[in-house]
């Protein structure tokens, strides 16, 4: 991840994003609100619980613009950006 340069006028995207798989219920809200398509919903292999069939994966964290929409929308508090919620 490239750091933001102090006094640089343009914001430089990128963040470390972690999703707590146990909390994620695959509701897709983070996918819907992210303006940079950082998330994708994937099928959990071998999952039999219909409420846990899908989970979100941060496929492009380098595009994150730190808008924090995903943190605000996730009702399960499953997402961490640089360790914060």
């Amino acid at each position: 991840m490239e750091a933001i340069k102090t006094n640089s006028v343009e914001f430089i995207p990128g963040a470390t994003i972690t999703i707590d798989d146990d909390r994620c219920i695959g509701c897709k809200k983070c996918v819907e609100v992210c303006p940079e398509d950082v998330y994708e919903l994937v099928r959990r292999p071998g999952e039999t619980d219909p409420n846990k069939e899908f989970k979100s994966v941060a496929v492009a964290p380098e595009k994150c613009i730190l808008c924090l929409s995903c943190l605000e929308i996730c009702a399960k508090d499953a997402i961490y950006i640089d360790g914060q919620q």
């Binding site: 750091a3 933001i4 102090t6 640089s8 819907e32 924090l68 943190l71």
Partner: protein, 245 residues
């Protein structure tokens, strides 16, 4: 002065002072603050404010600091950093897409217009921001942030106009509450502003839903506290001279 306002209003937490270091001559100013704590990872501006006042510790430092010095790289919230003058807003926030996707607006246009109207400093004009518990102020603050319930914030309104008379015009939307409404607006407009905070601040830091805030230009804060305390000394009717009664 901090003690006096905390006691008079029965505040749960001390007010927070903010000092902005401009990009111009930054090195000279930053040298003065080089021995103060820097966060050990990104955090939002409101998390930094919540940290120094003592409600939580989002700094990732083992001990909660009373003073934090933030640079652009320390911000978890790009909108907050952009409002404070560190850099340009990322395009999807600037063009309205971000708030539109959150379903806050029925069109991108209304979202964009609203975003453009949020008080902000020029991109690149700020180099660092120093956030501190007011009793531990290393320097006179540019802005003082007071948090309390509506009754406590109400107690500041009358004293603010006590000597001149008048009314308060508030610049508020519940968006970018701590950064734009409480910090930038009082500096740009040179007057106290009130804020109901914002969804972001309440989601990432301020957990007490009964709290709201006031941002007061640092230069006006001593007189505000003085007025707040002096109010009880305004003569009672029976103490006035006959002609004035």
């Amino acid at each position: 002065m901090t003690d006096q306002i905390v006691k008079k209003l029965e505040l749960k937490y001390e007010p927070v002072g903010i000092y902005l270091i401009p990009a111009e001559h930054a090195e000279r100013y930053e040298k003065f603050f080089e021995n103060f704590a820097k966060p050990n990872g990104r955090l939002t501006y409101c998390q930094a404010v919540d940290t120094v006042r003592g409600a939580a510790n989002y700094s990732k430092l083992p001990e909660r600091p009373d003073v934090l010095v933030l640079k652009a790289k320390d911000f978890l919230c790009s909108a907050g950093a952009a409002n404070l003058g560190f850099y340009n807003l990322p395009e999807p926030i600037k063009n309205g897409e971000r708030d539109f996707l959150l379903r806050r607006f029925p069109s991108i246009e209304t979202s964009k217009v609203t975003r453009e109207m949020i008080p902000h400093f020029e991109a690149g004009s700020t180099s660092s921001v120093v956030v501190f518990k007011l009793s531990k102020a290393p320097v006179d603050p540019h802005v003082v942030l007071v948090f309390g319930n509506p009754a406590q914030i109400l107690s500041l309104e009358g004293p603010y106009v006590m000597k001149t008379g008048g009314r308060l015009e508030i610049d508020v939307l519940g968006t970018c509450g701590v950064c734009a409404e409480m910090t930038v607006s009082p500096l740009l407009n040179r007057k106290m502003n009130l804020s109901t905070l914002c969804g972001g601040a309440r989601s990432h830091a301020f957990k007490d839903p009964t709290e709201m805030g006031a941002g007061i230009p640092g230069i006006e804060f001593p007189e505000l506290v003085e007025n707040l305390l002096a109010r009880q000394n305004i003569p009672k009717r029976q103490d006035l001279t006959k002609e004035l009664q």
